[in-house]
């Protein structure tokens, strides 16, 4: 079995690097890194984040009062909101890592010119540095550039195997379903991880939770590869597949809204795989305080379900269609 898988992995790797779309994705990666550093400003957004407070002597529209300081801290830690707490004439701004400029703008908008209040800033993150907004986008870019590589490439390779009818030759070989699915999942899992690491290092630097990041990037890339295999078996040509592929990616991209405005996290959006992945990357890259194990467990469980689905569908629709042999 290992021999078959390795042989298929080498074959798939060569097919991938000789495919133009792979190089389009690679160039896109470079463009994203350049954009993050040179086009996107470090603080472009302070709006859209939900504000919570405790003990403010004035009620402000748009700020949700909570029952205790602990509740405010919990909300900031868990939902990424911005908290305001008044202790005498001191306002404590509790946040998940806003830039200084954003903090100043926010306080000026709420309380007028500096001097009226003493202002203290408290960052509720494991890493205490301020995260510029452009760098904070790294989890989104990693998810939708590096991790979805497997989804796109697995689909494209399978369609090319259908169009060139090489899959027919595979069907009369002892290759089998498991070797077919596992080899693709491993190849794109590894490449997705390498791309994710490249993006992380080039955008964020070297100071992050490497083991957690590698594990999450690998499991996420495998998950999207399996999703690509499971979906593509239903299509015979690129034009029909493309619409569905874009739709699936767009659905996954809706979770970006939650990432930009953490207060927006309805129940249904948490079931979209990219939700856990993006926030998981935020944790491992910026130490947002949440437990990475939870993201890994959820993503691995989703990958396991998709593995079973991909194997069943590849076997039924691709390799054993019309066949009665065992």
């Amino acid at each position: 079995m290992m021999g078959k898988i390795i042989s298929l992995m080498v074959q798939d790797t060569k097919l991938m690097v000789r495919n133009a779309i792979f190089w389009v994705i690679t160039v896109t990666l470079i463009l994203i890194v350049l954009s993050v550093h040179f086009l996107i400003p470090g603080d472009f957004n302070s709006s859209g984040q939900h504000l919570v407070s405790w003990n403010l002597d004035t009620v402000y529209p748009g700020i949700t009062p909570l029952e205790s300081r602990e509740a405010v801290e919990e909300s900031v830690r868990k939902d990424g909101t911005i908290g305001l707490i008044q202790e005498g004439d001191t306002i404590i701004l509790i946040h998940p890592g806003l830039s200084e400029k954003t903090q100043n703008a926010l306080m000026a908008a709420l309380f007028g010119e500096p001097g009226d209040y003493n202002i203290r800033s408290l960052t509720l993150r494991q890493n205490t540095g301020i995260i510029p907004e452009n760098i904070r986008l790294a989890p989104v870019f990693i998810c939708f550039e590096a991790v979805v590589l497997g989804f796109l490439m697995a689909g494209i390779l399978m369609l090319s195997e259908k169009e060139q009818k090489t899959i027919k030759a595979y069907r009369v070989s002892p290759g089998g379903t498991l070797a077919y699915v596992i080899s693709k999942a491993l190849v794109f899992g590894i490449f997705g991880t390498i791309y994710a690491l490249l993006m992380a290092v080039l955008i964020v630097g070297f100071d992050f939770n490497w083991p957690g990041f590698i594990l999450l990037a690998f499991v996420s890339s495998v998950l999207f590869t399996l999703l690509g295999l499971a979906v593509t078996v239903f299509f015979s040509d690129m034009s029909n597949w493309f619409f569905t592929a874009v739709l699936i990616l767009v659905i996954n991209m809706t979770t970006m809204v939650s990432y930009s405005a953490p207060a927006f996290s309805p129940f249904w959006i948490r079931f979209i795989p990219s939700y856990t992945i993006i926030f998981g990357f935020e944790d491992v890259l910026f130490g947002a305080g949440r437990d990475i194990a939870q993201a890994l467990i959820i993503t691995s469980a989703e990958a396991a379900v998709l593995f079973a689905a991909a194997c069943a569908l590849v076997r039924k629709k691709l390799l054993k269609a019309g066949r009665s042999m065992t």
Partner: protein, 281 residues
């Protein structure tokens, strides 16, 4: 021994059979030719025999074991060369064979050796997308041989080849037979079948119209005549004799100097047309 017994196949489920009550046996180490025009059901039979299509009715067995009971290990024993070249165009000829060989759990051949057999050694490291149709056809055939199969399914193996390369491939197929391989050859090339096959079946609209050795078919359907051409007064004259008329033939040869003597043996194509009432195209 491969046995195909009362085989039927209906793609549409409407009773319009693509294969209709086909029965034949292929002894080990022989070449069986399945001949007929496009749409006659040749590929359907091959696909059922290789497990690509479901066995709906009838039976296909290998050494007495039903194709339905054969597991994935069966594919270690067979080689299939499809009519339409189906190789990875972005890989070289060598890479196509190398990675395909990696799928088998039996010893495989050196890809370069097999490429040499089909005359592709010099083009081994060219991408398959740069191959001509004939080269792709040969690469397909090479792939089917990589696992030293003892059962070979060859669908139009000389299609698109020039006469010299076709002759090389014919010899290669004969070598496989001499090594003990059992070969199921699907073609509408009657000359190829005549040269290679121990037994041929004419397939017409899903049914076998005639089946025998090429020699027996020719005897059965050919004219038992001899045509002798000789020169007389500066022009060529041809006379026909029944093969039984030994005295007449001897008398003419005594009197004249023959230029040509031909038996009126029918070709397989003539016989196919006679049996089915239609041509091969």
């Amino acid at each position: 021994m491969i046995d195909v017994w009362h085989l039927y196949h209906d793609y549409t489920g409407t009773g319009k059979f693509a294969v209709l009550d086909v029965t034949f046996s292929i002894p080990k180490g022989t070449i069986f030719g399945c001949l007929g025009p496009s749409g006659a059901g040749k590929s359907t039979i091959q696909n059922i025999m290789t497990g690509l299509l479901k066995l709906q009715r009838g039976e296909v067995s290998y050494e007495g074991k039903s194709v339905n009971e054969l597991g994935v290990k069966f594919f270690n024993r067979i080689g299939v060369s499809f009519e339409q070249p189906n190789v990875y165009r972005r890989l070289t000829g060598y890479e196509n064979l190398k990675y395909f060989a990696g799928l088998f759990s039996v010893p495989t051949l050196d890809p370069m050796e097999v490429l040499d057999w089909v005359g592709l050694r010099d083009d081994a490291h060219k991408k398959a997308s740069d191959y001509s149709k004939g080269m792709l056809q040969r690469l397909n055939l090479a792939r089917s041989l990589i696992n030293r199969p003892d059962i070979l399914f060859l669908d139009e193996p000389t299609s698109g080849l020039d006469p010299s390369t076709a002759s090389r491939i014919r010899n290669l197929i004969m070598e496989q037979k001499e090594k003990g391989a059992t070969i199921f050859l699907t073609t509408h090339n009657m000359d190829l079948a005549d040269r290679l096959c121990d037994m041929v079946a004419f397939l017409d609209e899903g049914s076998i119209a005639a089946m025998d050795t090429p020699g027996n078919l020719k005897l059965k359907y050919g004219k038992k005549e001899v045509m002798i051409t000789y020169e007389k007064d500066g022009s060529l004259v041809t006379e026909s004799f029944s093969m039984d008329d030994k005295a007449g033939i001897a008398s003419l040869i005594d009197r004249v100097t023959p230029v040509k003597i031909h038996s009126q043996e029918a070709t397989l194509e003539d016989i196919f047309i006679r049996v089915t009432g239609r041509g091969l195209s």
